[in-house]
Symmetry: C2
Amino acid sequence: GDTAATLGNGQVETTVAADATLPGWEVELDATDGGLQVGDSVRFSKTLSAEDVEQFAAVSGDTNPLHLDDEAASQTRFGGRIVHGSLVSGLISAALARLPGTVVYLSQDTEFRAPVRIGDRVTADVEAVEDLGGNRFRLRTQVLRDDDPVIDGEAVVLIE
Amino acid sequence: GDTAATLGNGQVETTVAADATLPGWEVELDATDGGLQVGDSVRFSKTLSAEDVEQFAAVSGDTNPLHLDDEAASQTRFGGRIVHGSLVSGLISAALARLPGTVVYLSQDTEFRAPVRIGDRVTADVEAVEDLGGNRFRLRTQVLRDDDPVIDGEAVVLIE
């Protein structure tokens, strides 16, 4: 579960247990446990909060005002703060991680189709579409908000 | 700068100011301020800590034991915990964000060439290689550890 421990420097570290599913996260797995097969799919949903965006800025280094500064963001085409595209595509990784077996990420192609707003609930939806041999699979990867794709892309993974 | 404010629920929110460069982050920008041109480049370096990996797991939902559980990770081909590929590619976004103008991410293709270990210092190195017209540019994007590529890829951005 989600336990908080205070680090020496006063910063509370939110410790997330391996394989945890935190409150507000939702997983729908459609796969046999006999190992990944073409047609298997998994959906992972969560809401992206202002805290998520600010913590991602701190861990990635992406402090683009478009994500952090209401005033600056309001003057862009988006008219307000948007979530980092890299954070939204992180949910694809979260979905892939819940496929059967140990999933090793080999590549990800990502098109950012629409901006995600702070507070949006989004769903990463991945489906195995081709067995490339040698335990490698190609997957269709989308992130959806109310069934509209905000990200379209493709991943290749190795299953150990 | 990096200021911490306590949220209602007792979790300290690390607030990162827009355009901030935190201690340990390093930026090298090689671009004229007259707007992005082919040949312009930027490098962004930071160290990826265990806290970064655990916070990324909490904000993305990727709680793959490969990143969080020493015991489980030691039994994989990596022999120990590795940093989420999505977090490492987040540094590309951090580099792009420091190009002149407001940078809008349109696409990112990423190949994960080698694992990044907890505690590694890595550098996202991006260079504009083609002007696609309409303020869109194609960039070569790499993440390096001691000059070895851990990520190879390509991005398309729109500069507002």
